[in-house]
Amino acid sequence: MIITKSWLSEFLSIEDIGVDNLCLAFNKIGLEVDRNIKIKAPDGVVIGKILECDKHPNADKLSVCKVDIGSEILQIVCGAKNVSINQYVAIATIGTLLPNGLEIKPVKLRDVDSSGMICSLEELGFNKIEDGIAVLDNSIGNLIVGKSLNDYNLFNDDLIEIELTANRGDCLSIYGIARELSSYFNIQLKPLVSYEEDENNLGIGRVLTVSHVGDIDSSLIYKIINFKNYNIPFVMKFRISQIGFEKISQAQTLINYVTHSTGVIIRGYKFDEIQNNSKVLLKISKNESGVDSIYYKDELISMIGLNQLKNYKCSDLNNSLIVFEMSYINPEFVSKKRFDYKIESDEIFYRTSRGSEPELKIGLDFLCNSLKSIEGVEIYGGTCELSREMESSTALGVSLSKINKIIGFEIEKLRVVSILQSLQFKVTIHSDDDSLIIGVPKYRHDLKNIQDIVEEIYRIYGVDNIKSSPIELIEKNKIDSSYLEYKKLKNIRYKAIGIGFYETITYLFSSKELLKKYQCDTIDDKLDLINPITHELNTLRSTLILNLIEAVSKNIKLNKKSVKFFEIGSVYNSCREEMKKIAFIYSGFEEDVSIINNGKPESISFYDFADKIQSVIGKFELREKHDMENSFIHPYQSADIIVNGKHIGYISKLNIFVQNDFELPQTFIAEISLDNIHDDIKITKNFSIYQANDRDLSFLIDSSMNYLQIKNEIESLIDNGLVDNIKEFYPIDIFKIDNLKNQISITIRFVLQSNSKTLDDEEINSNLNIIVKKLEEKFSIGLR
């Protein structure tokens, strides 16, 4: 909503209030100021009157003008097509600096002296209204030649744009804003002038009859005006351009001006029939969607508050009888209808859905007063009016003590009453001294309950004046599952950054085509997004890995040698079920080049990567992978991650082909479901005070075997008590033997320790022998 100070001044005397104070007031009462700019014509530009205007002797497109600027008469050469004698125009005198940087100097144009410039609005730094020079009229004030242009309020003004919230339709007009300021500054609104009918004028009944069928939900007033030779006053055109309208018709300029000034919705119709002096018959009834509609010769020509058929919309005013229609309809009603029946609406709906001015007479008076006693304009006497039974304005009963409870701060009764009265509410104090009956004006359709009334009081009283106070609490334990979940994730995140991973956040979205290309799950088409933001983000991700690969790729292109990311986030399967996952990606060298690695950082192995993941999410077991859920996974260097017997994710070297697609160095990935990672409380065991012994045994095994089989066998021996004092065992070396095909050597370290004594060699060897024997029996493998 754009307002200017000069425009506001037509409804409220605010000339003495500085623009900073105005903005402060707006912000305080809940009308947020978006921008505030000074509108000022440059110094040195004065009003001039063109006394003579002749063709330039040497140039067809130029005119030579004699211009009276009071102190002298200037000769100015002008190139505008619309220049003509007797016009009042803006003259930039010698020495004037225009906003575009041009300084006015005496010049010769095709051998004719020119001392000054007749300006267009753009040259003065204003919005364009029409081609050519600005032709002024006395709508800007008394035209005095030689008077500085910026001595007129219109050309020395402040423009303020307010970001209105959706509930404040009543502030969608200069009048509405003035009403608000009037209660804030406690200044009376200037009285609105009623239009007085001229009894000599022709009556509306000669040319128009309006009838209705059934009940209607809107209020309507019709007025007819005959335009013969009417020029839109300069001030109207200028202001309409200030509020952002460009190249609109005469009729639209007049209508928008009245609506922006008063908030009343106005439409203009033009019927050929009327022009021929026959009578027009308009019928109003509800259409099939239940919206009040205007019918002309059984044709629907407009729906109140929603739209209007182009055929009968007026554009030019002159030589026409125009039917003006002022209307009001309940905003909630019209919004519901529009939504329920998917009715198309035009620019009017922005206002009608937020609540336009219900007092139609304000608009009617404003329109007629702008046109009365102007030559070439004939206002027909009388109106056609239709209105539904307007319910008397809302009355709310509220208790003062309740108001103070809601605010949490005592505001005196007198202050409350005076605030409400300044907002044009009718306030009656009940005999019990605590209850107020508040009559809400019709234009505040948004006020329905005591909380709404509180809002009115506190915004005028000033939120800053309310003293803040803490709430008294009853102790309550807030450590619940979601708090523990939050702590668990936080713990994991901090562990991950401790070993060099960067946390990242990527969009929940992915490209369906890319997901499909890499054989990832995708959301069923029937469940997918209707309105994605771009094609590259046209579905929800089913994996975090694709986004992480893209993230790495960007950084590698920026010449990073080592990129490590993790992300915690939601992913979606084909049924669009949400799953929370954590994913890791490790690309390139272990670290950057530095003195520590002698300039030769190392690549990491699958085992290094797995070890890092383990140090973040806790102990797990790896099992050889059989089904590959996507083609990021390397079929020969990948594993399922198992915790407590449950499959919780996978870990893999990035498939070399994907690596090439994204031009990455060697990369490892892991994606793990968060549901099965637990931050268990650790239970300690007694630890032995006796010496532990290490024994390394090397076995020759078939290369088709994996370590897990051996591990399981040894564990079952331990679990069944067939061997004891084995504290732990783990592989420490593995290598291929050159002369033995398909055989590899694996060295396992056994740590033996007793809780009750120092073990001797015999005891150690007997335990190990049992293991060797069992492995030989089971897998036919022996010591090397």
Binding site: G30, R35, A166, D452, V463, S469, I471, R493, V552
Partner: protein, 326 residues
Amino acid sequence: MIEIYNITNLKSLDELRIKVLGKKGVLTNEFAKLKDLNEDERKKVAKELNELRDEFSEKLNLKKEILEKKEQEQLLQKDKIDVTLFSKKVELGAIHPVNYTLDRIVEYFVNMNFSIHTGPLIEDDFHNFEALNLPNYHPARDMQDTFYFKDSNLLRTHTSPVQIRTMLKQKPPIRMISPGAVFRRDFDLTHTPMFHQVEALVVEEGDKVSFANLKYILENFLTYMFGDVKVRFRPSFFPFTEPSAEVDISCIFCNGDGCRVCSHTGWLEVLGCGLVDENVFKAVGYKNVSGYAFGLGVERFAMLIHKISDLRSLFESDLRLLEQFK
């Protein structure tokens, strides 16, 4: 005696000790000769020899100590490095600035006895709009560009549906925050299709909760987040609160004098708040309760606090930005 001075290592020192004090040492020999002398002479010579032996031993021990120290020093010296070569970057990763800010916010509210609630990112119309006093024809809906799915579900546009879900499950008192990702169909310099919010809700029986309470916690919270700033409340409108306000802090870049960041107003808008609208309570079946709610954008906080100028950079996984949070 003089020989002691010339000795430079422990081994030769020990050899000298044996040469003098050993079983066949020079001094030992002299002591052995004592028995051949008469008593007077023996006494005199014995005294001289004792003094000589004591002096020798003392010198020897002193020298030994010096040599031992020297030897240790030489051993340690072998380890000498140029410590100033140290230039390696910290091998730590870093928490993402949005989550770092979120953690700080959560920490405040947990300490103020709020509980944390989370909910699904895919929501239905009822929880995201309808129950929040945003019926489908409401003009405020135009402001929220919503991502819709073909089965008419949607990506939540705020975390408020979590509050609705909590109120439907629990009875008052409620004192909760709902942090998480939200989605709006908007992508330009100052908008990303995904961002993060923390919304808070407090509900008590009766008329216990007032606007003054809301004002208190927000003033306290904003000082915790931004330091010594002024806090200003501007009346505003949200469909789910009444009365509503937008909250500004004095600009942390110019201390309120006016600069480019605050559009020369001296103020920065940081959150929205209000008392919960009775229609919201109606939608979840609460009667005779009072409450407040507020919501903030985590990215906005992170950008202001860490002086990050481009919102979109927060979602670009760019190490040039993220490395600065080590």
